[in-house]
Symmetry: C2
Subunit: 428 residues, 2 copies
């Protein structure tokens, strides 16, 4: 907090102004909310030149500051990317409206009905990094679900975000809604994040889309509800009965298809009865794809001689790392119980699976492994909003309250109880 | 945290041991969990003498320390209260099992099914004060919903809680479950609460059942998800069309039936067109019931002369107080909008209602007032688990995530995604 001023810092003022008009959006009709999102898509196409000019300033600054090629690629916009962003928004506009649905209705007594009705959460806070598409994605999801929004993007994309926010404001205005409903904090100082985390009176839900350091900072300082997620130490357990020829492509897909994302595979646990046959075949198949291996003391002897260059011994902490790259941990276990135990100790509760022909064993794994998504004979890569058919994705939650796994529009809603009486009074 | 020791304090050790065996309960069958709760009810009846002896020690200490009569009454047990506690537990044992239910199921692709399945949250932490019945109530609800539990009761009921926890342990043991699943922190020092709030690795959900000071402390220090609740500044808005003879008993019920609870009425907002006729009648009816009034500058002149002894002028902050006693705030407004605006500023989002014959006006109120429970022509006193037909109550949530209003067994669960594939891989 800013102790120098009268006690109200600019972050608090901004959050107050956003939360202060949230009812305008919560009470807007489904048609109006969808129209704002559709208009935002049109504006991305119409204002392409202005957005790309702003993005060029960010790219220039990135070059000057020596930002890495991969981060620079993340913040770069071009006509194709803008078209894709607009197409995503058009899909969001057309999703089923999540607000107002009656979840249950029953009589409470004579002349008295109780119902439960879906409503927006209120005001969301989202902290994110160098992806400008998040600005419009999250704004569209918030607006579609009736939630006001405070954004805190990365400094690297400040110009792009400003241009995109102007489109959001124009889209709100086109439907007669106050532009105050979606606002961005400046991304100049780290202190703004700390100030944001203190706004529990105005921010109902905080979504920190970033790495471990940001999430730890939120655990320490956030006073409001936070959805943690997006960090996946993911496992597959290869049981003795798994079909070698069919299971191998699953491991390859889980590790290789997009290694930089949170649902990519980090550790393969393999039953001792299968290890000798499977591991050399698996490693031989994956090395040409660029994969390197970190093997525990029982897997290593099966591989060390033949694949000395690509396999190293696991060190302390290796099974607690999210690799986010073409590295795969290998560990031999003696039983399903050992596999479940390892996962309980090392998983981030994101996505974990079993490869087996034994339905009973699969059932035990699916029951007892306590992750947001559990898999039987399938790649962990399916854990996301689009693969699960949710039409959108706000985040992948690895915490247990309110929403687990891929969060879509419905996860941005809550409910209220509605009692319609007949001048009813409580007796007992 | 205890910086003096090796870094692991007794609170952390206890939480680690509880969380470390949570799978035993999560994986127990519905029959076993229900049997534990039923056995607990039997033990309360069987061990009545031991429990009452322990309670006598707490009552003795209360007398010595000069605890107030109302707090002493809250901690007092007797045979009738123990019978009632046991009967409550028997009802919990018979509630529908909340775990394992399939919430949805659909094909994700060829040979691939996605489902969502209800599971326990994991490990709960509950902080509560001088009501020993909470010990067995919460233990029963946690066990029935498959959750491990760390309790932190009040110092005033330490002996009673120890005797009741012994029954919980015996009940767990009777079904072959580890007694470690439910444990209590000592209630000696405030520092234990701070240590508990740091156990985000072991406690998945914290429920602080206490006043504003405890909840503020949790907002500041808790690293895990917290359900805030149980504080209700509740409103009724009396619209011009409300039927005087039928609406008056609703106001009386909401204020008088049990004034010390969170769903009792705190402020009556009344439309200017009705105030002159209604307020004197209302006050005249409620004074014999012991009610005193705090009136805003427009209500006061209608009452001051006739009821000088029972009506005083409202002071700053009076409309932001939860009275928990036979005091009622009175305020005159000019419109539905003014009433909604006052509620938005002063309500704790617990329970707020409208008294009106006008269905359109009621619909606007029910939509736009953003509280956990909203009422049309009914007393706010209905907001609780038993009145809503939920069969149990853990807390009344006034926060927006996961659960709002009365929380019952279902609010102690979350879900997992289950994918059953056919060695399925992700293409795009």
């Amino acid at each position: 907090m800013n102790d120098m001023s009268s006690g109200v810092n600019p972050t608090e003022l901004l959050c107050t102004s956003v939360a202060g008009c949230k009812r305008h959006l919560a009470n807007a009709s489904a048609q109006v909310r969808a129209a704002v999102v559709a208009e935002l898509a049109s504006l991305l196409r119409r204002d392409q030149a202005a957005i790309l000019s702003a993005n060029a300033l960010d790219l220039e600054a990135a070059a000057q500051s020596g930002l890495s090629a991969s981060l620079t690629d993340r913040l770069m916009l071009n006509p194709a990317r803008l078209q894709a962003m607009a197409a995503d928004l058009e899909r969001v506009a057309q999703l089923e409206d999540p607000i107002g649905l009656e979840l249950e209705r029953r009589a409470l007594g004579p002349g008295m009905m109780l119902s439960r009705r879906r409503v927006p959460i209120g005001t969301l806070g989202v902290i994110y990094e160098a992806r400008p598409n998040v600005t419009t994605d999250i704004a569209a999801l918030a607006i579609k679900s009736g939630n006001a929004l405070v954004l805190r993007g990365g400094r690297e994309t400040a110009h792009s975000n400003r241009a995109l926010l102007a489109c959001v404001h124009a889209a709100l205005d086109s439907q007669g809604l106050p532009t105050t409903l979606v606002q961005a904090l400046p991304a100049e100082q780290r202190s703004e994040v700390g100030e944001l985390l203190a706004q529990d009176r105005h921010i109902d839900l905080l979504i920190p889309r970033g790495g471990q350091a940001l999430q730890d900072y939120c655990r320490e300082h956030a006073r409001m509800a936070v959805v943690y997620g997006g960090i996946g130490i993911c496992h597959l357990y290869w049981a003795p009965s798994a079909d070698l020829n069919r299971a191998l492509p699953v491991v390859v897909n889980a590790k290789v298809q997009r290694p930089s994302v949170c649902n990519a595979l980090d550790t393969l646990l393999i039953h001792a009865d299968a290890a000798e046959k499977v591991l050399p075949a698996l490693v031989a198949e994956m090395i040409p794809l660029g994969v390197r291996f970190v093997a525990d003391e029982r897997a290593l002897p099966l591989l060390a001689e033949q694949f000395a260059a690509q396999v190293r011994a696991a060190e302390a902490g290796d099974f607690d790392r999210e690799w986010l790259s073409l590295v795969l941990g290998l560990k031999v276990v003696d039983s399903l119980d050992q596999a479940i135990e390892h996962i309980a100790l090392h998983s981030t509760d994101h996505s974990d699976g079993i490869l087996t022909e034994d339905a009973e064993e699969a059932a035990r794994f699916l029951n007892e492994v306590d992750s947001a998504a559990v898999y039987w004979n399938a790649s962990t890569r399916f854990t996301d909003g689009s693969a699960f058919g949710l039409g959108a994705e706000v985040a992948v939650s690895t915490q247990r309250l309110h929403a687990r796994g891929p969060m879509a529009l419905e996860a941005l809603t809550t409910y209220k109880w509605v009692v319609e009486g007949n001048y009813s009074v409580r007796k007992g």
